[in-house]
Symmetry: C2
Subunit: 212 residues, 2 copies
Amino acid sequence: MLELAILGLLQEAPMHGYELRKELAAKLGAIRAAISYGSLYPTLRRLQAAGWITEAAETPATAEEVPALTSRRGRVVYTITAEGKERFAQLIAQAGPETYDDTGFGVHFAFFARTDQATRLRILEGRRRKIEERREGLRDVLGRAAERLDAYTLELQRHGLDACEREVRWLEELIANERSGRAPTVPQPGTAGGRREDNSPPPPGESRKERP
Amino acid sequence: MLELAILGLLQEAPMHGYELRKELAAKLGAIRAAISYGSLYPTLRRLQAAGWITEAAETPATAEEVPALTSRRGRVVYTITAEGKERFAQLIAQAGPETYDDTGFGVHFAFFARTDQATRLRILEGRRRKIEERREGLRDVLGRAAERLDAYTLELQRHGLDACEREVRWLEELIANERSGRAPTVPQPGTAGGRREDNSPPPPGESRKERP
DNA sequence: CGTGCGATGTATCGGTCCGATACATCGCGG
DNA sequence: CCGCGATGTATCGGACCGATACATCGCACG
């Protein structure tokens, strides 16, 4: 999971560890707390050993036009390689069971802008199926085993059940949106004739197939 | 966390590993999937080594009256000790930072029936504080950094923000309930500190299922 | 009659990730 | 000038997971 997230983020820009952690926290803030350095650095080394990323010590040699609002010390900047991009594409497209658990789904979803529509649909539906199963389990417990449990436990299950139902509805909406070929967001003002942001997933067209 | 959960469950009845896992899944189904055996068995051994629980191989000695709808094979039944109960009470009362993360809070909440009211209130408020912080972080990202993120990531944050707001409301309700002295139902005293036969009769709604 | 299959049951191993900790540099306010 | 918080890299022990192995039992299906 961490591997996927790092590869995805480094595709947007080269970064050093600290920055990576912050961007990760911003992008995945909805699903998990900030990643631990105890995971981050070992993973970076693993990725580098595999050739997915390259490490470059920062060199202030030629003065860029960027004044570097952060100081340039002995930071280590990581850049994704061509192989890394391939690896990312492979990871994003193949869906295992871990793709549908809370964290796995969240990470995949966060990179939906780099995922083709068919895969998006597959993941959304897989997630929905999984949440529906959890929901059924909760309903079972609340129905059949309710008298064996105390009021607090019951209340916890009710809250969980509510969250499940809500997420299923959310997923339904996203799936419907996806099928209709539209991006998921709220209607932007001035949709008619505005400029296109290129960080939005492309509309229903299937012409996109770039090879970096 | 696992330690707390096991100690809590074994206080309701002695169990073997498989059963423990199922009960755990039923009790904590709202917050996490079933516990892995790769965690369960080593933890059981750790708890036994510490003296919190004792292990007893099942003896089919005078098993005439039991038809045993499940066979009595080499199952290992674990029973909590007096020291284990003390340990549980200590774990349930002391609140570290991990008490307020998703899993930690869920486990604590699931045993609220064995937690005194002051601790319940403290935990509820700590959790609320933590969720409020997450909520503010999400709002920040949605406000300040919205243009840096793609539509899917934004949608993820919105969904997360919604979940946060909902949970805060839920917590407020529980806190108000708690303050008004009226828990969802009758709590039971589970705090250790020596004998505890002085307080209340056993829980009213509880029906002990006899197992073969 | 047997044969395979799913539930019950105990157990280990490798790997991922976290939390605590250590250490060093920088800019800033007191 | 000194501390302090942000920035930044790094390691270590431990918690937990997923896959796997293995054994027994009852039952359905041929």
